[in-house]
């Protein structure tokens, strides 16, 4: 029990809430109609990307504009391995995560030598470079057009991942793991330190914390989650394309986290869910669905910077992690 408490999973409201969410999501598997079934699976995987981003931005204050490169590392790592090396899903996941971590250790470590606006631009530039490199090796990556991940490789432990049940449950599994990790971090000493660094870096330094190391750690966890999400996305939904490495996919996790509530554990999921359906509805009306993204960003930053759960936490539920 003490270990559970140390992991942020002691017996209290917060734990109950998060376990409750997981239970509901699992139950939905049995009742959702086809379209929403695959949508929720997609949302769960993308929410892991968002949760990863939240560790960097929401908790540590690292406003990265380059997280698409970590997601893409996972996506292309798993996808290319499946396509050219006949690596199945489990191997693909590992490769994807390692690829993302490699990018954190190289690009991320360099970017962390800057802060604020410079950090935003440097991460943006690095992600752009990765995006362009994908194009440059278009012979393998097929650039914008992308490629379909071979069906045979989309399998884990004997189950075909393009089949609805396996797909949903794997997405759910990844989501559950990322959610628990997020909750543990948020309620642990690590989370407290990251928030402290975000709030008053100088003070944290003078309490003896190695700021650079802590930020790098946050970025490793963040990039790792994003990479895992990318790899799983490739395996579950079968398509790899350069759009996922573009600036759009660096902006989207920022948007999802802002909408749901930066620095809350469930915020990223709430944000991904809300924006997914909002964009879904809008694309039914016009090809210019990104307009919604633009208006949402402006509206959020002007009137609603704490997002949905952030505002709820501030007004009514200060116990919400």
């Amino acid at each position: 029990m003490s270990v559970m408490r140390r992991l942020g999973l002691g017996p209290d409201r917060a734990t109950a809430l998060h376990v409750g969410v997981l239970v509901v999501l699992l139950a939905l598997h049995f009742v959702l109609p086809d379209y929403h079934h695959i949508s929720i699976a997609r949302i769960m995987v993308l929410a892991c990307f968002a949760m990863g981003y939240n560790i960097a931005f929401g908790y540590s204050g690292l406003l990265s504009l380059g997280h698409a490169m970590f997601f893409a590392a996972g996506l292309y790592g798993a996808g290319l391995a499946a396509q050219f090396l006949d690596v199945p899903a489990t191997g693909g996941l590992l490769i994807g995560i390692l690829g993302a971590l490699a990018l954190v250790i190289t690009f991320g470590a360099v970017a962390l030598r800057t802060t604020g606006v410079s950090f935003m631009i440097v991460t943006l530039m690095f992600a752009q470079a990765v995006f362009l490199i994908i194009y440059y090796f278009g012979e393998f990556t097929r650039g914008d057009e992308g490629f379909i991940v071979p069906d045979a490789m989309r399998a884990a432990f004997g189950y075909a991942l393009n089949e609805p049940t396996a797909r949903y449950l794997v997405a759910f599994g990844l989501f559950a793991v990322c959610l628990i990790i997020s909750l543990a971090i948020a309620r642990s000493g690590l989370g407290r330190v990251l928030v402290a660094i975000r709030e008053n870096e100088d003070r944290a330094r003078m309490l003896g914390y190695d700021i650079y190391r802590m930020k790098l750690l946050a970025l490793l966890i963040s990039g790792g989650m994003a990479g895992a999400a990318g790899a799983v996305y490739a395996m579950l939904f079968g398509y790899v394309g350069a759009t996922f490495a573009s600036i759009e996919y660096s902006i989207l996790p920022l948007l999802w986290v802002l909408v749901g509530g930066a620095g809350t554990v469930l915020g990223p999921f709430v944000g991904t869910l809300a924006m997914f359906y909002l964009i879904d509805i809008t694309s039914g009306l016009t090809t210019a669905y990104l307009l919604v993204v633009g208006l949402a960003l402006i509206g959020l930053v002007l009137f609603f910077p704490k997002g949905i759960l952030g505002t709820i936490r501030e007004r009514w539920a200060s116990w919400l992690p």
Binding site: L63, L65, V110, A111, R113, T114, G116, V117, S118, M120, I121, V122, M125, F126, Q128, A129, L132, I133, Y135, Y136, I251, L254, L258, T286, T287, A288, Y289, L290, L291, V293, G294, L295, A296, L297, I298, G299, L300, V301, L302, P305
Partner: protein, 293 residues
Amino acid sequence: MDFGPYLLLASLEGAVGAAVLAVTALGLSLVFGVMRIVNVAHGEFFMLGAVIAWWAASLIGVHPALGFLGALVLSPLIVGAVALFAERTVLSRLKYDPEATIVATIGMLYVIQQVVLMTYGPDARPVQPPFDFRIQLPWFGYSAYKLFVIAAAIALMLAVWAGLTRTRVGLMMRATQYDRETARAFAIPVDKVYAGVFAFGAMLAAFGAVLVVPVQQAHYLMGHDPLLLSFIVVIIGGLGSLRGTVLAALIIGMSDGIISVFFSPTLAKIIATLVVAMVLVWRPQGLFGERPA
């Protein structure tokens, strides 16, 4: 063709690119220098300038030169108005907080881009150059209009430099850039300066777009590359330094043009983005800028 003419062609093409880039990047540089914010929607102001130029030219339609002239006048004015509106309604409310501003301008990027998509559509449309003859150079004939673009850009930048250094308005801008608080103490209307600079920066982008649109075509996604290149120019040249911006635009524009002709455009861009990241990390003041206070 052997090497000589190829190089001259690449250089001229690079020079045209550099000229337009210098004008566009100058807008971004001024905004950062005076207001200390990064406007990610700058490329969209550029695109808007091109699209409005097409609209103005097709509206006037009598003669390409007249249409072009109309575009040259109308486009910067309209884009400037849009920028002013955005600054008053959004950016000033955010009190120019750097991170919030970037997020807001990303939003503006999408709004402008998608509105153009909804109205102008996804097609690329050409605009007639005002005049269409070729000047005979040593190995080949080259478009006189492109040479005009280079000349116009130079003229514009000299005008801006004169304005900045010789007029009262320019003095107010430079004072605000140096020290916002002291400028306020000297009764300089900092808010108005900010609004003006932001609008002017957008107008410069629009102007650059009008110059280039007879050469390229007007397309709703055309803001992406100018944004990236302007970023690169401004960061390498030093945020807020006019001389640095011009020099960097020259270097970037020329090398982008030359590398693109001799190698691949993608490789040129990869190198450029990585260089800019490295400059920001190790020499954040760029080549000519001053260390931020």
